[in-house]
């Protein structure tokens, strides 16, 4: 790109053509104040605080640095008397219609208006006159606190609501001095359709839109901030936690991770009661002779646990032990847990809560597309031209993906939404398909059928990159559209129209959101998803792909690090002799043979009485989708139930040992989000109790000392030896942006499963369709 040289404050600055004066000044390390400008929002050029002086021959003029493009030979002054006088006037005007109640304002200390007033030494009172008197706390929103008296009309909230969330709730109302930020028809936020993402509060430079938590309790300077990955869903957003003591005060999006680029959802931003709230578990308990849970020292509890487990193992009854891990654990936690199961207790009965949903994804996609996970990046989704969203209520379960879908729709993409109920993305959809629950497989087959029948596929792509097309065609000959229509509950005509719409614009993007508790579809479904995308030539580019969104925060990590019954770390099949030999050598322990039980199978085994010892790590068995009476019956039959969690659950009623664990924001380690991005977890709060890793490792040590780890780092280093996609990954070199699997030996990640395929490399495979 061509370079432009300009002079800022007498200093020569060279920047890319098309840069703004603000960007040039930033590059040169020169301060230019801003207020309405935000690097992650579109330009508004409303506040004028960033004006700088453009000096021309004989005269000069003030221009807004945030929007004004640089020109060759331009002469800019950012600190002249004219500039500073203007900035002071603007600030004086702002303060003349502002409460200036910094003493009691929640934003004090992090308020951008206050900072500017300080920097330019402006006090209120230069101008008298009418001030707005809006009601304080004017909206009943349960999470947001609105005080429009403080508003500076920078409109960041409007832009955040439109550009990031795509909800368009905030708008400007009225004009001139009476302009204000409000909603359509000035309805209360929730009535106006607010999705409670809280982006507006994140971007508000003052405290006009704030959050309710911490208000009047914690001053910003009495809190510390740190960033870690939110594990409440599979998107893996980097979030900045403001913490006072051991309490979370406020959560903000962190712009540094490409996964979310500053965005967060309602859950990530506001759901931290399990950390702050009364249900937090802090005591180590062991059920005594009397049947009561009694507090004991942690070491004693671990000793008791290990002893009991060892006895079962030594009695040759390893198959009656099971471990179920939750969705919000670190990779190292999963690795340690499966090592405890396999190496320590000689059983493959290890699973994670989202295992039954993730397993067919892996098995279906790894065979057809060569990678058993979401093929593209979250960011990629916004490049789609047509989109099919199926599965979970994406806007609630994997919100960041839904926001990218909305961005694509804003860019002209057509969205087809298949869901049995009315869900959040509905208003963005061009076509809503109210399919029967769990009939996504029939829907995808109907699309394939239509595309084959009407020859809507991309022949050149098929020729170049795929094989066994005839296999698919032959198998589809037997499939009747009417039959598929019946299964989906839609008419054949609607299905055909939908398929045509989906095939009309490319790249076409298929999104399937997993949800624990929903019917799990088999691997054929995922193969058919791959087939559909291959037919449309929409694999291997931004905006295409088969994008399966994981069911839990670190579901992908659990899979990669071996927390499931069928596969060891790195997807090495359990029971395969080569794998067994290699791992036995690495660990110095014998491994069990056949695949273990998935967790639904474990519950069946508990009911039958063949599984008697259960170790729950961060799992509430009453929220996994099994009827409560069945859970109760199963848990009641256990001889040993170890419940390890950061919060109290009903499982405590049945537990023999209770181990309090730190929440995920107190953890060190790594996690992998749905787009295969491995990111580092950094503790942002001191929890006062041990983390999952320390607890599992403690038991491992007591069961078999030689298997224990020296620390989290060692566990990671050991795990990557088993995973070809993490080959020799040097964790120290991974930045805050993370790295996407598969990682090359040189350490670079893979943004999307890619084309063009190299000469001689295997082609994508088509499989026969099955109903």
């Amino acid at each position: 790109m061509a370079k432009i040289t300009l002079k800022i404050n007498g200093q020569d600055v060279q920047v890319d053509e098309g840069s703004t004066i603000l960007q040039a000044a930033k590059e040169a390390g020169i301060y230019v104040p801003t207020l309405c400008y935000h690097p992650f929002l579109p330009l508004e050029e409303a506040c004028r605080i960033c004006v700088v002086e453009e000096v021309r021959r004989g005269w000069s003029t003030l221009v807004a640095a945030c929007v004004f493009p640089v020109r060759q030979g331009m002469v800019i002054e950012t600190d002249s008397e004219m500039v500073n006088e203007s900035r002071r006037t603007i600030l004086e005007l702002l303060l003349s219609d502002h409460p200036n109640a910094c003493m009691t304002c929640q934003a004090t200390g992090e308020c951008e208006l206050q900072d500017l007033a300080y920097r330019f030494q402006v006090t209120a009172g230069a101008y008298q006159g009418q001030r707005h008197k809006y009601p304080v706390d004017s909206d009943p929103h349960p999470l947001l606190h609105i005080d429009m008296n403080k508003c500076v009309l920078c409109r960041r909230c409007i832009r955040a609501c439109h550009d990031i969330q795509g909800a368009d709730i905030w708008t400007k109302v009225g004009r001139g001095f009476n302009q204000r930020i409000s909603t359509a028809f000035e309805l209360p936020l929730l009535d106006a359709g607010c999705e409670s993402c809280g982006h507006c509060a994140d971007f508000c430079p003052v405290d006009a839109i704030g959050v309710r938590s911490g208000r009047g309790e914690v001053r910003p300077w009495n809190a510390v901030s740190g960033s870690t990955v939110c594990l409440q869903c599979a998107c893996g957003c980097l979030a900045q936690y403001q913490v006072a003591g051991d309490k979370v005060v406020r959560v903000r999006g962190d712009f540094r991770s490409p996964a979310n680029r500053g965005a967060l959802c309602k859950l990530g931003r506001f759901n931290f009661d399990f950390i702050n709230g009364p249900q937090r578990l802090t005591e180590t308990l062991v059920r005594g002779e009397s049947g009561e849970l009694k507090p004991v020292a942690l070491a004693e509890a671990i000793e008791t646990t290990a002893k009991a487990l060892s006895e079962v193992r030594d009695a040759g009854e390893s198959a009656s032990i099971g471990i179920i891990a939750g969705g919000m654990l670190a990779n190292e936690d999963y690795y340690a847990a499966q090592k405890l199961a396999r190496g320590g207790l000689f059983t493959n009965n290890i699973d994670h809560v989202s295992g039954p949903w993730q397993l067919p994804v892996y098995e279906g996609l790894s065979t057809s597309l060569g990678l058993g996970a979401m093929t593209n990046s979250l960011e990629d989704l916004s490049q789609a031209r047509s989109i099919l969203v199926m599965g979970s209520n994406t806007l609630e379960k994997q919100a960041i993906a839904a926001l990218k879908v909305r961005a694509a729709v804003r860019g002209g993409a057509k969205l087809l939404l298949a869901h049995p109920r009315e869900v959040g993305l509905g208003k963005d959809a061009k076509m809503q398909l109210a399919i029967q629950p769990g009939s996504e497989d029939a829907l995808v087959l109907a699309f394939i059928k239509t595309i084959l029948d009407q020859k809507l596929y991309d022949e050149a792509f098929l020729e170049a990159y795929t094989q066994d097309f005839d296999k698919l065609v032959r198998s589809m000959e037997k499939v009747e559209l009417a039959e598929l229509a019946e299964k989906t509950g839609l008419s054949a005509a609607v299905l055909t129209e939908a398929a045509q719409m989906y095939a009309a614009q490319r790249p076409a993007c298929l999104i399937y959101g997993l949800e624990t508790g929903a019917a799990a579809l088999n691997e054929t479904f995922y193969r058919m998803c791959a087939a559909l995308q291959l037919l449309l030539g929409s694999v291997g580019m931004a905006g295409g792909g088969v994008n399966v969104l994981g069911a839990a925060g670190n579901a992908q990590g659990a899979a990669d690090f071996g927390a499931w019954p069928k596969y060891l770390p790195g997807y090495r099949p359990a029971g395969q002799s080569g794998t067994k030999k290699m791992i036995a050598k690495l660990w110095g322990a014998e491994l069990p043979g056949a695949a273990g039980l998935s967790w639904p199978e474990m519950f069946e085994a508990m009911e039958k009485g063949t599984l008697t010892c259960l170790y729950l790590i961060g799992v509430d068995p009453f929220s996994v989708g099994i009827a409560p009476n069945k859970v109760e019956a199963a848990l009641a039959r256990l001889k040993l139930l170890i419940v390890q969690d950061c919060r109290k659950t009903r499982a405590l009623d049945f537990a023999h040992v209770v181990l309090p664990a730190a929440p995920f924001i107190a953890k060190q380690g790594t996690a992998i989000n749905c787009e295969r991005r491995l990111q580092k977890l950094e503790p942002v709060v001191r929890s006062g109790v041990a983390g999952d890793f320390e607890l599992i490792n403690g038991i491992l040590k007591a069961v078999n000392e030689s298997l224990a780890f020296t620390g989290v780092d060692q566990a990671f280093a050991e795990a990557v030896q088993l995973h070809k996609d993490l080959d020799n990954l040097n964790l120290a070199a991974v930045t805050v942006e993370g790295v996407q699997l598969p990682v090359s030996p040189e350490g670079s990640g893979t943004e999307r499963l890619g084309l063009p395929l190299e000469e001689g490399k295997a082609k994508f495979k088509f499989y026969a369709a099955r109903m």
């Binding site: 050029e45 221009v63 203007s86 603007i90 008298q128 009309l153």
Partner: protein, 617 residues
């Protein structure tokens, strides 16, 4: 209507129309422009029709409801052709007389003729009236002659011949060159050279380009665009079609303010008629050139006259401006190259094409070419629409054309350029009006509003009036305009109400300069002009308000008192009876007095006193 499929067809049609009209012996032009319409023009048209019917006046006589004649002060205006007899202030009961004597007969109705105020003589012909004699009505002149509802009438007088000329072998570049040679500058206020703008838009990259007409005229007291678009829409549309051809646009928009329903109606009818004749739409006059014009109504925001705000509004967004660092000729409507010109600018185009850029450039001053239409209102005898060559002295406009101030009052200043323009004082009455001279005097051309002020106008109050308008019309996007204009208004109001503190003038001046330098758009940047220009020439009035709490023009109510001169009062009681607040006390035949506490300074007593006994201090 037949569709014209070749350029020659247009000429044939014109001849046919002229032939059809050959037998018309007399034509009655009845002004239905904004002023005359509200003065009863519509009723007159109806009465003339009834009279014609009664008397069985057949096709040899024509009634032509036309657009504005310009001489609004004398409306409703009726002109009888071909004799060019000008009747002023025509009342409904005089219609029969006119028809009887001047239409059927060939006599004059003496009492309806214009009287020259200097000589006291009656003037028969429209063209001889001083108001018209000193003007050069080349652009607006046609509106008073044009039968609004008929495209044929426009065609009969050479309408669309400029378009035909362009399509008969002028390359787009030649058209642009002609406009550049003419020196035409934007009549909406900016004064940017029109040809240069067209050229930039033609050169801008993009398959789809737009032409646009800004008819969102919103300055208080200005109505020249309204008169043009209502009275002669084809002239504007023809200009736009030529512009579209030159620029390479296939689609265009007329952004007409909501408050101009007749302009919307007439322009839409004109578009429909032109389309039916094949003068618009696909393959204009059988050529490869096509254009579609769409009318969009504004929603009552002054700011939408600003180009970027207008385009935002057209896109369906809230009408707010953006910075001009990206030119609209490159990225305007929907980020495509867009050429926006004002109504009057477009109306000039057919003239330039027909008579040549050189002809046009011979009119006016060195840097301001052609003529300019002004809407001259306020304290003036001959209020109305005035078109003069650029460079015409202000004095000529106000005295020779405008007929001076009524009641022998002394001229004080003229406010030009709309709400964000400025005031030009008496000392500069010889100023030759063009873009540069007005700017140099601290005002601006604006769209051409002129409000004449006399000795009874308080300049601080005038500034307050315009600021009040700007406070209402600020869009609220940038802080300097949103809060700054509000604060300016509050400070000036405090001066008018005697609440100002010493030093407030300097503070006001500093704020004005701050806003001027930092506001986002032209409206914001020029919003301090009402204050700055009055401060420049009438600082003493501000000082009197602030330091002495005195309003020299005796306008600001909080600064004046009404009292009764005991020597002059006869105790007639008129003031006492008329006072709406019962502030006047006194027995009949005895001297009255005014209770200052109750008096609201409405001035009714002052106006009613025959003895000049009411004193304002």
């Amino acid at each position: 209507m037949m569709r014209l499929s070749t350029i020659q067809d247009l000429e044939l049609l014109r001849r046919e129309i002229l032939k059809r009209r050959e037998h018309i012996k007399k034509r009655v032009r009845i002004c239905d422009g904004p002023g005359c319409h509200s003065g009863g023009g519509e009723k007159l048209i109806q009465l003339f029709r009834e009279q014609f019917e009664e008397r069985g006046l057949d096709g040899s006589y024509e009634i032509a409801p036309t657009g504005c004649h310009g001489f609004c002060a004398r409306g409703p205006v009726v002109v009888i052709e071909p004799a060019n007899i000008f009747y002023e202030k025509v009342k409904p009961d005089q219609v029969a007389t006119i028809v009887e004597r001047s239409v059927v007969g060939d006599e004059l109705v003496e009492e309806l003729l214009y009287t020259d105020p200097e000589t006291g003589e009656k003037i028969v012909h429209e063209r001889d009236i001083p108001f018209y004699v000193h003007q050069e009505r080349i652009v607006i002149g046609e509106t008073g002659r044009n039968l609004i509802t008929e495209i044929d009438d426009y065609l009969s007088r050479g309408g669309y011949s400029a378009l035909a000329k362009v399509l008969t072998g002028m390359q787009p570049e030649q058209v642009i060159e002609e406009v550049k040679v003419s020196g035409l500058r934007g009549r909406g206020g900016g004064g940017f050279p029109t040809g240069v703008k067209w050229e930039s838009c033609r050169r801008a990259r993009g398959d789809i380009k737009y032409v646009m007409c800004n008819a969102d005229e919103g300055d208080p007291g200005a109505f020249m665009d309204r008169a043009l678009l209502e009275g002669n829409p084809h002239q504007v549309i023809e200009g736009m079609i030529i512009g579209a051809y030159a620029i390479g646009a296939r689609e265009g928009y007329l952004y007409v303010r909501y408050e101009y329903p007749a302009a919307v109606k007439n322009a839409q009818r004109a578009i429909n008629q032109a389309t039916e004749y094949g003068l618009m739409g696909d393959h204009i006059l059988g050529t490869d050139f096509s254009l579609k014009l769409i009318i969009n109504r504004g929603a009552g925001a002054f700011i939408c006259g600003e180009s970027t705000a207008l385009m935002a509004s057209l896109e369906g967004k809230i009408g707010e401006p953006r910075g001009k660092h990206i030119h609209t000729v490159d990225k305007g409507l929907w980020n495509r190259p867009s050429n926006l010109n004002n109504v009057e600018s477009w109306a000039n185009v057919p003239l330039i094409i027909n008579q040549g850029g050189k002809w046009f450039a011979d009119i006016g001053t060195e840097r301001s070419k052609g003529t300019k239409i002004f809407s001259v209102v306020g304290k003036l005898n001959n209020t109305g629409l005035v078109e003069v060559a650029m460079g015409t002295p202000l004095k000529k406009i106000i005295y020779d054309i405008g007929g001076g101030l009524p009641g022998g009052k002394r001229f004080k200043a003229v406010q030009t350029g709309g709400p964000s323009g400025g005031c030009i004082p008496e000392s500069m009455i010889d100023l030759a009006v063009d873009y540069e001279k007005l700017k140099g005097a601290g005002s601006m051309m604006g769209s051409g509003g002129m409000i004449v002020l006399d000795e009874d106008n308080c300049m601080v109050d005038v500034a307050r009036y315009f600021l009040n308008f700007l406070v209402e019309e600020s869009c609220g996007k940038c802080i300097p305009c949103r809060v700054g204009v509000k604060r300016m208004h509050e400070m000036v109001t405090a001066m008018c109400e005697g609440r100002a503190q010493p030093g407030d003038i300097e503070r006001l001046e500093a704020l004005c300069n701050g806003i001027k330098e930092t506001a986002l758009c032209g409206l914001g940047k020029s919003s301090p002009n009402p204050v700055l220009s009055t401060l420049r020439y009438f600082r003493d009035e501000y000082e009197a308000h602030v330091n002495d709490k005195r309003c020299p023009a005796k306008v600001c109510k909080k600064l004046i008192t009404y009292s009764i001169d005991t020597d002059k009062c006869t105790g007639c009681g008129v003031c006492r009876l008329r006072c709406p607040e019962d502030a006047v006390i006194g027995e009949k035949k005895e001297c009255h007095c005014i209770d200052e506490e109750i008096c609201v300074r409405c001035g009714i007593c002052y106006e009613g006193c025959k003895f000049g006994a009411i004193v304002i201090e």
